[in-house]
Amino acid sequence: MKLLKADSLRRNLILTFIWLWVASALGATLVAFWLAGRSAQIAFDRILKDDALALMTQIHWDKNTPVFSGDTHTADYLIFDSFSPSRFTVITEDGKKLVGNATLELPPNADTQKPDIPLFFDSNTSIGNLRVVAIKLQDKQSSAYAWVIVGESQAKRDQISKELAAAIFLPAIGLAVLIVPLLFAGIRYGLAPAKAINDAVSKRGINDLSPIPLSQVPDELTGLISHINDLLRRLEDAVAHERRFISDAAHQLRTPLAGIKLLVDDLLRTNQANPKSPPDLEVLTELSLASSRVTQLVKQLLTLARSEGVNTIEKNEFTLGFLISELLKNWGPIFKKKGKDLHVSAYLNSFKDFKINSNLTLLIEILDNIIDNALNYGGDTVELHANIQHSRIILQVLDSGSDVLQEDVEKMLTPFWRGLDSTNQGVGLGLPIAQKTCLLLGGVLSIQVQPQVKGTQVTVDLPV
């Protein structure tokens, strides 16, 4: 049933309310029934006692001997009951029956009973279960006494119990039948604002990330909706960032692709015009360079995309010296070819045996991107420096390039930003990749411009 679907708030509310209502209604009804029954018992006992007292008024003492003034009929008249005939007997202390219409026994503990104090007890007799009261009547001059014992059938009390049960339980059952639909309606009404929000949200388009209006939201849901709105805002920011990134990536790919297309068309055109002449070397060289740039760009885009979804990084142990030798092996020839110098500081060299517990491949990728950036945008010298602090290693790449403005430092970590003065063929992904990879290793990448000296310093602070 849809209404009672598992995990439904309405189902939980209805079941909770029903259980609570059933338990409390049952408890209240039982208590009411018990209290009403007890009140009825007390009232009947009082009437029974009054009957006994009425009989006692007919007893007087003659020389320490009790005498009943009337006869059995008089006594019957005194304690007349239209529902069921009362039973009574008056006996002396030695058990002699003075008057009575039945033989009623005293309970075993009757001897200790004080005079004039009614003793109530139930008695199972040959004429049925009786409720009995016995009052000891003592002569004031002597210690002689007599017992007035009056009993009445339990049937009367059973009857009143049934009537009380009917009077209490039947309305309760009726109320129970009535309250369930009222409960359903009440909960439906109470949950209507939540349902309205649910409907409004479900009708939204898949791209609608605007905040949910809080004007119609009940207080209990305001916090939840505010959190959802906060999530929506962050999601919208993330989506906008992704769109911008994809747009930038497409922009970066379109330019070399446009060049490749025009050059290939040119080759085809010249070949058609003059099939025997060899293709133009300048065109072929440019095509090769453009293809390399596109390949590099795609590779970098994939690296960046892959770094987004990685949660765990496998770590291994290597020395700082090994890391530096790998970098020099890769970059030494490139720097030489460009007539530039990649210099390792003496201080770093003194820590060659320092052990690093990290991911060698990713760390090399970080430093490759930073060094590549320094090679392309920096001056003639790039210096590698390191500092060891507690359980961290701080690697620095310093270049002697042109001055970077302080306001451009943050932009340098924005994908595809290259700076207006850039004339090389980079796409502006190196440092963003290095930064993301650094985060994967639990480190921090920062850029410092050095006002006192020319150049830029990129710092990688990593746990080891």
Binding site: S247, A250, H251, Q252, R254, T255, P256, L257, A258, G259, I260, K261, L262, L263, D265, D266, R269, E282, V283, E286, L287, L289, A290, R293, R418, L420, D421, S422, T423, Q425
Partner: protein, 222 residues
Amino acid sequence: MRVLVVEDDSALRLGLKRTLLAEGWQVDTVDNGELALGATAVQDYDIAVLDLSLPKIDGLRVLKEWRDKGLKHAVLILTARDELQDRILGLNSGGDDYLTKPFEASELIARVRAIVRRRTGSMTQVLELGDVSFNTDSRELFCNEQRIMVSPREATLLELLMGSSGKAVPKSRIVSAMSSWDTNFTPNSVEIYILKLRRKLANTRVCILTVRGTGYVIEASE
């Protein structure tokens, strides 16, 4: 026609240059905004093909400076961004048309021609004079309905003369339109191409006259 290509991507720059050269236009190329402003300071261009993402000075600023300085050459904006906002911004800054990368060479040529036609006020691609007609798009010359082959430079010269509708075209303008930084086109070379065209138009009622001290004019005799 002399074209300035401003594009920082070397492959696209070369592709643009070769595509435009193949149409018989003279092409100069620069790879940043600073050089683009420098080029237009020393040379008049009929049209500039301008990328927006440029080093040194970005394309929109270059365009604005051109217009602020009163330079009226046509501008075809090239960019990889195809959002409406970018297009509007480019056109509002003084661009004549907008081409999104990547594009077909034929579309580039068609747009350049369309811009030039709009600029010169010519609504047709066919220039007619007497019994001579010249299609500026296909670069085809018809004399008495007979097709005559012309080289790209002859076509450029013919378009320049026929497009001026009876007015004399200064020799310096012809030199400029048929030169680029890569080719040294001298006033003497103009005379050679004038001679070639006169030969091809010999059997028609159209002739190219020398206006002494000025240049040349093309006219049809009765």
